[in-house]
Every structure is written in C-alpha cells, then in structure tokens.
Symmetry: C2
C-alpha cells in the first residue's frame, strides 16, 4: 500500500530509528492473521460461557486452540485492554467485544443461490440463524422446485431474484450452483447489489472491488488433509 518510494530527492533520515512513512491512517488496523483467529476465539469463548465460566486466561484459551498465550494476548491487544492481571479476561465482555469487531453484533440477511445438495444442506443448517445470519430466500432455475419451501424459506425463480434481493434487504449470497454456472450467477449477484458472496463452488469467481468473496472448497480441504497426513507419516 504505502510504498517507500525512495525517490531521487527524498533524503530520508536514515540515522533515525523511525521510518518516514507514517502518513496513513492512525487507527491501526487489525492484522489479517489476527482476524482469522477472532472467530475461533469467539467460538471457544462461547463454549466456556456455556459451561458457566466467567473468566478465562490467555493460557487456557491458547491451549484450547493450540496457540501460545502470548499470541492470544497480542491479538487482544490490538483492540484495547480487557484483561485483569492475575485473573484473566471476562468471558462475557470479551464475547461482546469480539462480536462488535467482527460486525456480527447485528443481523445479516442472506440468500442461497442454487438449491442442489449443498444449497439444501445449508438451508437446513440451523447455526446460521443462531449466529445472526438469516437465510431469507433461495433461488434456482429448476421449475419443479420453484415455489416450494425448505424450512421457512421459499424457493424463487432465479429469473427475478434481483427484485427479491432489494425487497428483502439481502446482503450476502451463498453460491451453490454448478461449477459451470458459477461466474455467470456471480455476475448477476453483483449486479443485484449484494455485498458479499460465500462461494461453495470450486471455481474462483471474479467480482468487482465492491464485493467481497470468501470461498469454501471441500476438495481443497481434503487435499490439505492428505498432505498433512502424508507428511506426518514421514516425520513421525
């Protein structure tokens, strides 16, 4: 982002310990690696909360996740001071803070695009709703299922999903169409004004800068597992 150009006449004060490139925003942003862990912390903290525990230490939380206590403290340090020395962190307030950071202290409306095996499974996945992600509609091209419902969710024709997206305030699309239709449907989703796409197809999809994509590829996960297993064989 900020590139230390070192132009011809820049004449940076090299003798100083500080680099001269602190022109950007002052609120330090949270490192990507940390953000990926925040969801894991949250999931674990809710487990502690369900067991009635009110405080937790960085060592405990780190042990749960297989990371060091220092890592946990460093991560939390990016967004303030919460812990009490000698005690640990308050489970309840940490949960609230994490939800606020992750922007899940609100509700999000989502829709499933493509009601095949995976789409159907996700429509029946109760965890989304309890996490504040409400699947309020599903879309497909198959006339034989259009008009039917899965749970409390009606399946609409893909032809007119643009109307439903705005009418229902749908912000996320969950892409479960066949691989070959992925890009085409993604284009339509973008055109309809969706802000984020959760992509379950094994295809990278191209979207503009206004839309975010997170992909879940089952085969990729299995490949990583195969590699890990094979490596453990060699090492141990």
């Amino acid at each position: 982002m900020v590139r230390d150009g070192n132009g011809p006449g820049s004449g940076l004060g090299i003798q100083l310990g500080y680099t001269a490139t602190q022109v950007m925003s002052e609120r330090a942003s949270i490192p990507r690696a940390t953000v990926k862990r925040l969801s894991l912390y949250l999931r674990e903290l809710e487990l502690h909360q369900s067991r009635g525990e009110t405080t937790v230490s960085s060592r405990t939380l780190g042990g749960d996740l297989g990371i060091t206590d220092a890592q946990v403290r460093r991560d939390f340090g990016y967004f303030g001071q919460f812990g009490q020395p000698g005690i640990g962190y308050s489970v309840g307030s940490l949960i609230l803070r994490l939800k606020s950071i992750l922007k899940i202290d609100r509700e999000w409306n989502a829709a499933v695009f493509g009601v095949g095996n995976i789409g159907r499974a996700l429509l029946n996945y109760p965890r989304f709703d309890s996490k504040g992600f409400h699947i309020v509609a599903a879309f497909d091209v198959d006339d034989s299922i259009i008009g039917t419902s899965i749970g409390s969710c009606e399946i609409y024709s893909a032809a007119d999903f643009e109307h439903h997206v705005s009418a229902m305030g749908i912000e996320f699309g969950i892409l479960c169409v066949p691989m070959l239709a992925a890009q085409e449907v993604a284009d339509q989703m973008v055109a309809a004004g969706l802000r984020g796409i959760l992509n379950f197809t094994p295809r990278r999809i191209d979207v503009g800068d206004d839309v975010d994509v997170v992909s879940v590829d089952f085969s990729l996960a299995l490949e990583q597992l195969a590699y890990q297993v094979a490596m453990s064989n060699e090492d141990g």
Copy 2:
C-alpha cells in the same frame, strides 16, 4: 499432528531457554503458506489444461489467483526448477508435480460419519471421486437409514464401523455428526485407526498426535465475510 491449519507447530510448548545452535534440517520443508497455495495453483492449472493451454507464466497464474508473479515463482522454487525462461511452465508436468507434492497422485478411501444434511450432500459431491478421494462407506446411528444406500455408498451402523474401516482400507473420516457428538465420534474414529479427519462440526476436536484434522466451519466463513464487507464499507 498439525491441527486445523492454524497456528504454528501446534505441539507442546517446547521451551528452549536458548537457541544456541541452529540445526537446520536437511531437506528444506515447504512453508505452510506455500502448501496452502499449491492446491489453488493445481485447481487453476487444471482449468488452463482444460482450455488446451500447454504452458503458463508465473504472471498469468498469479493474476488468476490475485498474487504476484514473484510469489508464484518463489513457491515453485521450493521443489525444483520447472520453468523455461521466456516460455513459462509446462502445464502438464506442473500438474503432475503438484499432485505428487500434495500426495494426491494416489487414491484415498474415506467414510462419512453422520448422514444428516451435510453428510448427505457430501456423499453426493462428485468432485471428491474425480480427485481421487473415494467415499466408500457412511455410518450413522439412525436405524431407519442403516442399510440403505446413497449413490453407490451403503450406510452402515455406527456400532461396527471399526470393522469396516480396516476391511475397506479407510484412511480419512469426514465428520458430519451433530455438534454434541463430535468429540465422542472423533475418539472412536481415532481408535479405529483413521489417519485424518475432515471436521464439519463447529467444534474443535481433540485427537492424538497420530491423526490430522482439517476443519470446515460454515459459520466461521460467514463471519469472515461479514468482517470483510463491513471493513470495505468503512475504507472505500
């Protein structure tokens, strides 16, 4: 051994007071960050191959994935020299090499544990088979589905899966049981001698050092998406 693709070598806290001598391992191992990209390269290369292209440059491949060409070359550099200056990389031989590295130049047998919505969807997921991951059995506790088949895959009673695991040479387990049963079933999977677990439950599972786990958590993915979308809102 490695857990969840998170954190460093997740093992016990080996605390060396001093790192006086730096004993380097003979064969340099491939960085974790690189391994995670290898699957992506492979997926993209197969796309190029299906279009009849025989060579591809690091710039093209990087552009596909949104990373720099230098990154691509550095990644490939970890396991030899393949490219031809002025030309690029041979798509075919690069695919073969990546499959060999990822240990998917062979077949793996897997079984689904828990035939609910997600388990059923995965049993019908054709991509696993074409990638060399063969789901050869499914297990459940529901008497009403035991004995039936999904596709070419029979559903057996969870009670005697240990026998089937060894008889069928099953190495991977795909864990799709309800959250509360996750750890218990995982324990049984480990006891049955499985080498790897693909965990679709929203619970961290504890396994010994002999078993690897890769987790897929749909809610976690949505949370990451929510964060990204909200951040894009602020920044731009």
